[in-house]
């Protein structure tokens, strides 16, 4: 147990801001670039106050040109800088997909090892705020499909504060997804916390009856489901993937080989999702450990609607996770 003097409480949003500030104070090659990150303070207020502190050269507002400024971030990384490029949301990142995939991810391999691209691309992801179909996507799996990228999904205050540091140290492109539902979450951070690795999943709650694998904005939902399950005498382990590429298959297999049951919670549409990859890996490597067919709790395969009750019905919810776990357990 830690005592109160060893920890402080802050929000996820403040943790990300602190991470950016720390990186900019430490390394003059680091700068932040994106739409409305300066004067406006960031669409999700992450970069609020940083313009005053660092000035417009290093807190660089861009025009609405996703391909253009992401490409420029990649070029600046090739030119010796350590840019943090913020996309306003994952929804607009599709306009920059060409640069992220065809340039950032490919250049090192395609150039025979000559040109690494040390760029960090951050973007909010996910639904749940009634912003309707075009602002509610979860396309993390699209990026996780691409060799050459590392794909991070910080779900805790500690990862929000410290994953960026590790990402900036990485010589290769890292894409960081921040779930919009997490920004307001507050939690404790140990004063002795430090850089967290860009590999490895983490057990957020241990259990012995079933493994719930999830990431990002669904980690709190899975933990909440695990609380209710405990009331029914079911001990659920919650594994936070943290990284979607590289995927820590070893930790998934280890957990499943103890609980023998698997439920994957993923806010993406079910087909061809991260959830699909997790279950495929278990089928490949640990089929004989499974004591029941695995289950997936994903977003209903329809565009996400505006009306609150409809949106709630579309997305994974703790109640649905509880139902899936019980079904896997035959209860």
């Amino acid at each position: 147990m830690t005592t109160t003097t060893d920890v402080r409480t802050l929000t996820y949003r403040e943790a990300v801001r602190e991470a950016i500030r720390h990186a900019m104070q430490t390394d003059e090659r680091v700068f932040l670039m994106g739409e409305d990150i300066g004067m406006y303070g960031g669409c999700y207020a992450v970069s609020k106050g940083l313009l005053d502190e660092f000035g417009p050269e290093r807190i660089r507002d861009t025009p609405l040109s996703e391909a253009g400024f992401v490409g420029a971030g990649i070029g600046a990384a090739l030119g010796g800088m350590r840019p943090i490029v913020e996309l306003m949301t994952i929804n607009f990142s599709l306009l920059a997909l060409d640069q992220i995939v065809n340039t950032a991810a490919l250049y090192l391999h395609m150039s025979g090892g000559q040109f690494n691209v040390p760029v960090v691309i951050r973007m909010p992801t996910g639904a749940g705020r009634q912003v309707a179909a075009q602002h509610s996507h979860s396309f993390e799996s699209w990026y996780a499909n691409v060799p050459g990228l590392k794909v991070a999904s910080p779900a805790t205050i500690e990862d929000a504060r410290w994953m960026l540091w590790t990402a900036l140290e990485d010589p290769d492109p890292v894409v960081i997804f921040e779930h919009v539902g997490l920004y307001a979450m507050s939690g404790e951070l140990g004063n002795d916390a430090g850089p967290t690795p860009l590999d490895g999943a983490a057990v957020r709650r241990s259990g012995s009856d079933v493994t719930i694998v999830t990431y990002g904005g669904n980690v709190p939902k899975a933990l909440s489901a695990a609380d209710s399950l405990a009331d029914d005498g079911i001990s659920a382990e919650v594994l936070d993937l943290r990284m979607l590429r590289p995927l820590d298959t070893g930790s998934i297999l280890y957990s499943v080989s103890r609980t023998h049951r698997l439920v994957v919670v993923d806010e993406a549409w079910k087909s061809v999702s991260v959830a699909a990859e997790v279950i495929a890996s278990v089928a490949e490597h640990a089929l004989w450990e499974l004591d029941a067919p695995p289950a997936r709790v994903c977003t209903v395969e329809a565009p996400i609607p505006y009306a609150q009750h409809m949106e709630e019905a579309a997305l994974p919810q703790p109640a649905g996770i509880v139902r899936a776990v019980k079904s896997v357990l035959g209860r």
Binding site: G200, S257, L290
Partner: protein, 446 residues
């Protein structure tokens, strides 16, 4: 003589049609001249020559035939002062370079015809459809037919009443339980591992002994989990070994003087990266010796010994973080000494970065452990099931040895065999050790 061949104009082009010649025998052509027109999938293309020369013969007439890329189309003779390079003629299969004007067009995609379905009467086919049974999943009778009963039996096998989880199947095999005798405890009828254990009269073992503690849950997963998973695997495998395998042990001292002298000489001539380690000699000798004693090379499965078809030599590799794995060098008896060294190095590197393929983990037909670098002189190995033997080598030490009546200080290694008494006895085991000894005395032949 210069051959003008049908050029390849794109990665996706493998043939084309010769539409017309723009040259005739006797013409002089120069590099870059257009000499023919060709029709391809993409349209009409003019083709040029890369050589200077005088046309002596046109080998192919314009026609509707598809001509494969590379087919000689014409013969030119070099001009007197020709300095242009001609592409070297491609030898034909009969060793000559003669043109082959009548090559068949390249084959399009060949889809093998599906095998004819086993004969079923229409009512049987209808039944299969009703029960959702795929007829191709049924093994036909000896006369090649599939009957109503066959369909019904297959439907029953696939039916809901007999769903068994993979873990339950494995548990049933481990405990020797007939799944037909197991009842499900679940409303959906799925037979789980606990159901199998209940049927076997054993207590459900949930949670596993290695179930995580709070401390583990707080840790940052990854390597810790892998470590714990590995410890778990080791404990399962070794417990089973000690429980099931009646071990016998034989040990002998092997003089390595000749082997190490030869090795030193050999390594002097090699660049650092290609030097051989004594371990490679020991592995190579063991692989060869196993060929002479096949009863030690294989698996004990379902109460009988199944000899290995090849020698997949397991190597116990200790990891930096602790623990060990024993993946196999596949087909070790077919690898020369250099190849064995390369394979060993590769295996160790990958084992230490957790990049061993699962086939390498399950393949070994016998395993070698070499604890010499830990300072141990004699190893008493525990056989890794389902293998039936294991050889351990200790530290190479200098000892006084009497050779041909003379006392000398020689490097020796203690080799120990653990054998499974269900398969072999000490006599055959001894043969293996003496073969290894003999082979190591003539290292140049390894």
């Amino acid at each position: 003589m210069i051959e003008f061949r049908f050029p390849s104009l794109g990665a996706d082009m493998d043939s084309g049609r010769l539409v017309g010649w723009l040259i005739a025998p006797g013409d002089v052509v120069h590099r870059g001249d257009i000499v023919a027109e060709v029709e391809t999938d993409k349209g009409l293309v003019e083709i040029e020559t890369w050589a200077d020369g005088r046309v002596t013969q046109l080998l192919v007439e314009p026609s509707d035939d598809q001509i494969p890329v590379g087919t000689p189309l014409a013969i030119f003779e070099a001009l007197e002062d020709d300095t242009a390079e001609a592409a070297p003629p491609v030898p034909t299969p009969d060793g000559g370079t003669s043109p082959q004007p009548s090559l068949p067009p390249p084959s399009r995609m060949h889809v093998p015809p599906p095998p004819p379905p086993a004969p079923m009467t229409p009512p049987v086919r209808h039944l299969a459809h009703q029960l959702g049974v795929d007829p191709s999943s049924i093994t036909p009778r000896s006369d090649g037919t599939i009957t109503r009963e066959d369909v019904a039996r297959q439907a029953e096998r696939l039916g809901s009443g007999s769903k068994v989880s993979p873990l339950a199947r494995r548990t049933a095999t481990d405990l020797g339980v007939d799944l037909a005798q197991v009842e499900s405890s679940r409303p959906d009828g799925l037979i789980t591992a606990d159901d199998v254990r209940a049927a076997a009269g054993t207590t459900p073992t949930q949670p596993d002994p290695t179930t995580s503690t709070q401390a583990e849950a707080d840790s940052d997963a990854g390597a810790d989990n892998r470590m714990a998973a590995m410890r778990h695997a080791i404990s399962r495998s070794m417990s089973r070994s000690k429980r099931e395998i009646p071990h016998y042990y034989l040990s002998t001292r092997i003089d390595l003087d000749a082997a190490l002298r030869w090795l030193d000489r050999e390594n002097e001539q090699r660049p650092l990266a290609q030097r051989l380690l004594p371990a490679a000699l020991l592995l190579r000798a063991t692989a060869l010796a196993l060929r002479e004693v096949p009863e030690l090379n294989g698996h004990w499965i379902d109460d009988e010994f199944r000899p290995g078809e090849a020698v997949h030599l397991g190597v116990a590799i200790s990891l930096r973080e602790g623990g060990l794995v024993a993946p196999g060098i596949l087909d070790a008896e077919k690898l020369g000494l250099d190849e064995t060294m390369v394979a060993l190095r590769d295996l160790v590197t990958r084992a230490r970065t957790w990049r061993i393929r699962s086939s390498e983990m399950s393949a070994p037909t016998m395993t070698v452990t070499n604890l010499g670098d830990r300072g141990v002189e004699t190893v008493f190995p525990v056989i890794i099931p389902p293998q039936v033997a294991m050889v351990g080598f200790g530290k190479i030490v200098e000892e006084p040895v009497a050779v041909e009546g003379m006392l000398g200080i020689r490097p020796v290694v203690q080799a120990t065999l653990a054998g499974d008494h269900r398969v072999t006895d000490g006599h055959r085991g001894g043969t293996l050790l003496s073969s290894i000894d003999r082979l190591l005395q003539e290292p140049q032949k390894l």
